[in-house]
Amino acid sequence: MAGATGDVEQRSAILLERGEELLGVLEAAAWPMWLASLDGQCIHFNDAWLNLTGRTLEQERGSGWLDGVHPGDRERVRDVFVESVAAQRNLLCRYRVRCADGEYRWVEDQGRPIRDRCGDAIGYAGSVQDLSAQWRRDEAVRELEKRSHVHSSQFEALFDAVPVIVWIAHDVEGRWITGNQASREFLQLPEGANPSLTAAEAARPAHYRVIHQGREVTGADLPVQKVANSGRAMRNCEMIVEFADGRRSHLRGNIEPLRDRAGDPQGAIGAFADISDLVNTREELIRREKRFRETVANSLAGFFLIDSQGRFADVNQAWLDIHGYERREDVVGRHFSLIALPHTGPMLEACFKRVLSGESLRAVDNEIVRPNDGQRRHLAFSARPTFVDGQLVEIDGFVIDITERKLSERALRDAHDLLEQRVAERTEALAAANEELLRSNNELLRIRSLLENISEMLPGMVFLQDESTGGLIYTNRGFRGFFLRGDQPDGNRIIHSRIASDDLMVLDRLYQRLKTPSEVPATVEAELRARDHDGTERRMLFCLTRFGDGRDGKREILGVIVDVTDSRLAELATRRGERLVALGTFTAGVAHEINNPLGTILLHADLIEDEVARLAAGPTVAESLGEIKQAATRCAGIVKRVLEFSRPKTTTLESCQLSEVMEFVVKMTSHLAGNSGVELCIEEPERPPPVRANRAEIEQVLINLVHNAIQARSSRIVLRGELTPERDRVTVCIDDDGEGMTEHQVKRVTDPFYTTRLGEGGTGLGLSICERILRDHGSQLLIQSVPDLGTSMRFSLPICESDHREGANHGGQSPAG
């Protein structure tokens, strides 16, 4: 700091040393000046300054001069002054200063550092210009210019404002040329510079040259100079300005000569437009079009141009090749319908209309027949309109041959269709098979259900058994009823549990035979004895058959068991019946021969009896006669019953009154009853209607029943006939108070040849005959008996409907008759 201060003092000293010299200069100056030291203190003001401010040197020295500065400007001025001096920078500052007359005037204060020979600053000096005076002068000038150069001003403005390049040659040689703003910008020259290429050698710009009509021009050949010199205007003059850096600009314009009052050439004025962009664009267009044409010409794709009328304007070689034409001339000028086929014509016409309306088309399929070889080809084309000012000028487009692609597409499609068809067929077949399967399955289920139902309804037993385990897979109701009552289902053991132990081996052999492969047919059967639940022995026919071939590991045995006990008994009875018929036929033959003599014997016995009684013979004779009669009667009874039992059935039903029948029976048996001391009576609470029956047979039944009752040592026998509650049958009862029968006897009393009076002439056929007759009448004999209390036998017969109605009718008519 001390160094710096010392430096400043040292310089101020230098400044003061040179003071005389400087002060002399300051005092000589006609305008106000000041001198400052490097520390910013003004050390001197010349007389012009002091005259201006009307103050003394002493008042102004240091910073006193600031007192004369307008208070509004003072601070700003001081800052600028101090900064500029301290930085030793040039100073330019405008401010108002109080003049000697007391008024403030605008001044422009300019200052700069003062340097010694070494270039070191030693002080600062400045001068002040009275702006008010200048402004007044400027105003006067402006007023003058305003008045006298209005046109010039307008021209100047126009000159600089126009976007075209304007040059004015002020002499006939064009040595002095001025240009407007556009020209300066174009040539990149500062304002006031002379752009003339004919200027003095030193002042001539060298960074550009002019090419006119294909060659560089200089001197008087330059267009502007030429016009200035010749006085002949040039219109549409084109020239190229080539800059040193290689840039080229195309200018086009008009040049007019300038003349003096005498009409002699004085210069020229030229106005040019930079048409470089236009030229470049044009060249680019030309270049592009050339390239495009080459491309199109060499393109493998067909190119076409169609005018607004639909005529071919141009086609390329590829188009000719694709469409099968030799020369462009065959096509150009012809309407596009040239290539249309009957089926593509309307489509092409429609495409054309669409393009006319401004649409661009892409990848339109088309088909042609080539005229040169007659081949049908598939094409795809694009088309696009070109409009100028809303007017269609042409349509351009490309076309390619897609025949091969079409063919492959078609092949692919055909293959695809075939595949689809196969799939569809297969699907259909599958669906049909599936449906058939479902149907079969349903049918199977139906048959199975049917079989199970049939099986359930069968009176016999059915079971299905797993061959290997013996487990029961299925059993019907009959089987379950017989075998499974209270037992756990356990296959063979269940069956075995019911089979008579003697027949178990037979059953085992049956199963063995079933497994023997040579056994044909696969059904085996055997009759076995089985025990019922209450221990009754039944005869069972076992039929077994085998299911499954064993390939799926499943073999089943189907068994059908039929209870043949009853049919065996029936067979037995039938055989016995047959024997009886044979016996009957035989006995019937002899019965007649026996009965006649028996009849004779009995009658004669009666006669003898009468004689014996009259002759009063001893009791021995009478007893003997009684024995003879009894023996003969027994013989007759035996023959009669044997005959009747074997007699074939011939029942003719008729209407008969039961009361008559009963009366007849009582009469027919009263003799026997009387002999045995039995009271016979008929009870009829209300006379029943006639019944439909074979009278003789019913008589025989009743006689038989009454005989049985008499022989049961009864004291009273009651015959009773009465309508059933339903009033459709008549019940006939024979009640006795005889010795009665046990339950066992009741069960067997209708069996043929069963008799409780074997030693008393009973054949055991009576009740069985009765039962057969009643069965023929659709009835049955019901027997209730209690030993020592008596027996009640009853049967019912249907009432004779026709007689019943008839009788009712008669009854209805009798009051009238």
């Binding site: 007649h592 009965n595 006649n596 009658l603 009666d606 006669l607 009667t633 027919m668 003789a696």
Partner: protein, 122 residues
């Protein structure tokens, strides 16, 4: 009044015994051994009841006899006797009104019951 009974049987011992037995019981009895005699006896005797054996000689039977008598206007109850009650006889008997069947051999009371029953029906 005792009933008039015509007995027809080709077996003489049986016929004589039956005639005696019925006669002894108060019936007025005529007898015949064949159809022809039976018819002439019936025309002469006018029986109330005809008791005839089914199997008669000369290829005619009791049923035929009954029909013949019926045809000749002799109104008598018919009782057919037989030791051989063949089905054919039953059918034939049904064609003859009021005819009854009595199986041989029988005890006298049975026949008497039947004769009396027939008379009662009268």
């Amino acid at each position: 009044m005792a009933a008039k009974v015509l007995l027809v049987d080709d077996e003489a011992p049986f016929l004589s015994a039956l005639t005696a037995a019925l006669g002894r019981r108060g019936y007025e009895v005529a007898s015949a051994q064949d159809t022809r005699t039976a018819v002439s006896e019936a025309e002469r005797f006018h029986p109330d009841v005809v008791v005839a054996d089914w199997m008669l000689r000369n290829h005619a039977d009791g049923v035929d006899l009954g029909r013949i008598l019926l045809d000749r206007g002799i109104d008598a109850r018919i009782i057919i006797m037989s030791g051989y009650p063949a089905p054919e006889l039953k059918r034939r008997l049904e064609a003859l009104p009021h005819a009854r069947f009595l199986a041989k051999p029988f005890e006298l009371p049975e026949l008497i019951d039947m004769i009396d029953y027939s008379m009662d029906k009268e």
